[in-house]
């Protein structure tokens, strides 16, 4: 099943399906530096919904990249880096580690602009009828940097090591779904699962599951199959890769050399980009958006994503165990204001569940919640909460929750709800406040699939079930969603999940924030992939420099 459409994530118009004239407008727009936002707006006017528009633009980027130039050195500054930087895919915890993964390694699959799995080291993949077993057919003739050929045994080793507690893999919880991985003939790998899992190919496209050589235990170097050979790696300083001439993708990578390092300070990172010392940076600080947009030599790359911060209303303790109080609060979130003023427009409205509007699984039937003072007052009166103070704990640690709290406090006062803001120090917030106080701010990074997000923090027994909302139907739906291969049924399951969270859940979601990166206009070939910065961290494979 190398056609990802079966998973139901991708039944939208593609770039190729557009009329020739429309295609040209998009391509010209991109060439002349029209922002993705402008083009999305234009596509919207042409009757194409934003979700599909994002996919079309991603495809357009690929169409543009058909005449890339070879050569040049690209320098990229990430937003985090430390002495704990690692080349071991299992140990990656920071986005900068993920990028390093994509420089030196490949996964079995690759994620496209719709977060659907595309063939990479596996040239095809198919599930059995109930998705409890997947077979991956490996691409023949793939070489590691040391000249050895990729074998099924390499894949078995790379996947199974995550299950070994001694490895200490950051993806251990995810890999626990795998029962066994076995070589099934020379170029075939069979993955047996504990339970049915339709999203397995997507999970295996993320950087933790990059493919190593069988038996690798030394991570001072990185012998992968990836686009670049490791020529230097000093933790906390920089990583350098030079083009791997025997890369399995003909003609790629385009760059001769890629240098990647971290600049934690946001202002310094922008300065490095503006002064031309680097060609691209991750996590553009919101204050620098205008600066980058105003310069013709720079490009702002906004990637709509599933990253969000939330107001957590814990359902197992007073006063937020009161369902009416939760509903009153949900009707008091000024989402438009948050997206417009805090995210500077680079975000999508939230609807009190985990699925962003650009996701194909988004439930469009649920009315978009806005500030509704009448409904809020009604539920507030019904809750019997009265004029008491409701403490809301917020912190810089959970990005965006401080302005969210301030916005909510003002709106709530109009409905007669008295919210007292408690601003907590960032240090220790996650161990002292999160999942402890009845009403507090939380933050979630985008995950490759909605299922991973739900399994981490919404299924009843999840360690990170921050709202402590426990519902047997919800749990059952989450498990069903994992195994459902039929797109229509799958969509229905996820619609139901969103409905339950929307009506009863403990999450007040203002909005989803885009990944914002900046790069030189000379850099081409980076297309948004919603799971991370700079093309879902996977830009090393596709980026090229205009001379």
């Amino acid at each position: 099943m190398n056609d990802h459409r079966k998973t139901g994530l991708n039944n939208q118009p593609r770039f190729q399906d557009l009329r020739a004239r429309d295609r040209d407008i998009i391509i010209e727009g991109l060439k002349h530096g029209a922002s993705r936002r402008d083009l999305l707006k234009w596509l919207g006017a042409a009757g194409i919904v934003a979700a599909a528009g994002a996919g079309i633009l991603a495809d357009a980027g690929i169409a543009l990249a058909q005449t890339p130039k070879r050569g040049g050195k690209m320098r990229v500054a990430g937003h985090s880096s430390s002495a704990a930087d690692t080349l071991d895919p299992a140990k990656q915890t920071l986005s900068t580690d993920y990028i390093r993964g994509y420089i030196y390694f490949n996964g079995l699959t690759r994620l496209d602009g719709n977060t659907a799995a595309q063939p990479e080291l596996a040239e095809s993949f198919e599930p059995n009828s109930d998705a409890t077993e997947w077979v991956f057919r490996l691409r023949p003739g793939v070489e590691f940097h040391d000249g050895k050929s990729l074998t099924a045994q390499d894949v078995v080793y790379s996947l199974m090591r995550h299950k070994d507690p001694a490895v200490g893999s950051a993806a251990k919880a995810l890999s626990d779904q795998i029962e066994s991985v076995s070589a099934d003939g020379p170029g075939m790998v069979r993955v047996k699962l504990r339970e049915a899992y339709a999203d397995l190919p997507i999970m295996l496209g993320t950087s933790h599951f990059m493919i190593l050589q069988d038996g690798t235990t030394d991570f001072s170097t990185a012998i992968g199959t990836g686009p670049f050979r490791m020529t230097e790696f000093s933790p906390g300083v920089r990583s350098i890769g030079t083009r791997f001439e025997n890369y399995f993708k003909e003609g790629r990578p385009y760059l001769d050399e890629l240098e990647f390092f971290g600049i934690q300070d946001g202002v310094a990172r922008v300065n490095a980009l503006v002064s031309g010392d680097v060609e691209a940076i991750t996590n553009l600080p919101p204050g620098a958006i205008e600066e980058v947009k105003s310069r013709p030599e720079l490009v702002l790359l906004a990637t709509p994503s599933a990253t969000f911060s939330e107001m957590i209303m814990m359902c197992d303790r007073a006063p937020t165990d009161n369902a009416d109080l939760r509903l009153a609060i949900k009707h008091l979130l000024d989402r438009e204001r948050y997206v417009k003023s805090v995210l500077k427009g680079y975000g999508q409205l939230g609807n009190d569940h985990v699925v962003p509007p650009n996701d194909p699984l988004y439930n469009a039937d649920l009315p978009q919640r806005t500030v509704d003072l009448d409904k809020a007052k009604f539920h507030l009166a019904k809750s019997g909460f009265g004029a008491g103070r409701l403490e809301l704990h917020i912190s810089e640690a959970a990005i965006g929750t401080v302005p969210m709290g301030q916005i909510l406090q003002q709106t709530a006062a109009q409905a007669g709800l008295n919210i007292e803001l408690r601003r907590e120090p960032a240090d220790g917030y996650w161990s002292n406040i999160w999942i402890k106080r009845p009403f507090h701010g939380g933050q979630w990074n985008a995950r490759p699939t909605i299922d991973i997000q739900l399994s981490l923090g919404w299924i009843s027994e999840a360690d990170w079930n921050a709202a402590q909302f426990k519902d047997a139907t919800l749990d059952q739906l989450i498990v069903q969603g994992r195994s459902e291969l039929d797109p229509a049924k799958r969509k229905q399951i996820y619609n139901d999940i969103q409905k339950i969270l929307y009506d009863q859940g403990g999450n007040g979601v203002f909005g989803f924030q885009d990944f914002l990166d900046g790069h030189s206009a000379r850099v081409k070939g980076i297309t948004p992939v919603p799971i991370g910065n700079l093309g879902g961290f996977a830009f090393p494979d596709t980026a090229w420099l205009e001379s």
Partner: protein
């Protein structure tokens, strides 16, 4: 005199010991630990507990303190909890980078600050003195992070003469070294220069107003002779103090400058260490900074003793 110096040395060692306790308690008080930071997404309570045991974090603090101290005394700084690398190795490279940055700064600043202060003091209320006073006052008031950013804006973003970041330490040539380090060194230098020049000026002015200088003036000694033969010699001890204290200040200044310019020095190592809760690294770096500070103050004290005849004589 020797007893006096030995006394100072003793006090220095005592301070160092107190510092070890403070550093240890300080890192203990940091919320969260490396086990949680390392595990990230899969930080279940059981996994955290297992990793804590493996790293020895579950043992009593007092035991770990003595292990740490005895390790340090024998030159064993331990291994980084986050990456498993030997801390001595991590530090060796970073330390020389920081030394290069601080050394270059000191090399530039000390002579020029003393010269500026001296000339300003020789011609008080002159145009030159006023310019120096106003300029140094301005620079003292501007914090490093702002000054660094302003310099970057002018020299890297607008003029494009110099790089905005200094993350490399592999220099192709001397010119490349100067180009790479120009902005961080300039940032540190300007702040220090201002401090030192001001203090030198006021010290010398103070001495120039004393009665023995008045006597020299009345005797008809020429001005530059007064300054160099009489005032400067007596100003040596306070100026040595000024230099030592400002170089100690340099130690904290590099933390900010290394962060702004992404320079891979010791300060960046400690900042990284704090964010990944890598206690041994934080402790080792903190001890190096504190030792440097104490050392500078010790040098200032000893210089004061050596240059003061009264203190010199008392010991005999």
């Amino acid at each position: 005199m020797l007893t006096l110096i030995l006394q100072r040395l003793g006090v220095g060692l005592l301070t160092l010991w107190l510092v070890t306790i403070l550093v240890f308690i300080g890192t203990e008080l940091l919320p969260g630990d490396v086990a949680e930071a390392v595990l990230g997404q899969s930080a279940t309570p059981e996994a955290v507990a297992a990793l804590r045991t493996e790293m020895g974090l579950d043992r009593p603090a007092i035991v770990r303190y003595f292990e740490w101290i005895s390790g340090m005394l024998t030159g064993d700084l331990g291994a980084s909890l986050a990456s498993g690398a030997q801390i001595s190795g991590l530090i060796a490279e970073r330390f020389s980078n920081t030394l290069l940055l601080a050394g270059l700064t000191a090399f530039l600043v000390v002579p020029s600050a003393i010269l500026l202060g001296l000339v300003a003091a020789m011609y008080p209320e002159s145009i030159f003195d006023r310019i120096v006073s106003v300029a140094t006052m301005f620079l003292v008031a501007v914090p490093e992070f702002l000054l660094g950013t302003l310099l970057v804006l002018v020299f890297a973003v607008q003029l494009r003469w110099l790089p905005a970041i200094s993350y490399t330490t592999e220099f192709r040539s001397f010119g490349h070294l100067i180009e790479t380090l120009a902005l961080p060194v300039l940032t540190l230098s300007l702040v220090l220069l201002a401090q030192m020049a001001r203090m030198t000026r006021s010290t010398i002015l103070n001495i120039l107003n004393s009665s023995y200088i008045e006597m020299a003036v009345l005797k008809g000694v020429r001005r530059h002779r007064i300054v160099f033969r009489h005032a400067l010699v007596n100003a040596m001890s306070p100026i040595a103090n000024v230099i030592a204290l400002n170089l100690a200040y340099l130690v904290s200044g590099v933390v900010i400058v290394e962060t702004i310019f992404a320079y891979p020095g010791l300060a960046k190592l400690i900042v990284d260490g704090v964010s990944s809760r890598d206690f041994p690294v934080i402790q080792a770096c903190a001890m190096i900074f504190c030792t440097a500070y104490i050392l500078f103050i010790l040098v200032a004290d000893v210089a004061a003793i050596l240059s003061n005849p009264r203190l010199r004589r008392k010991a005999h």
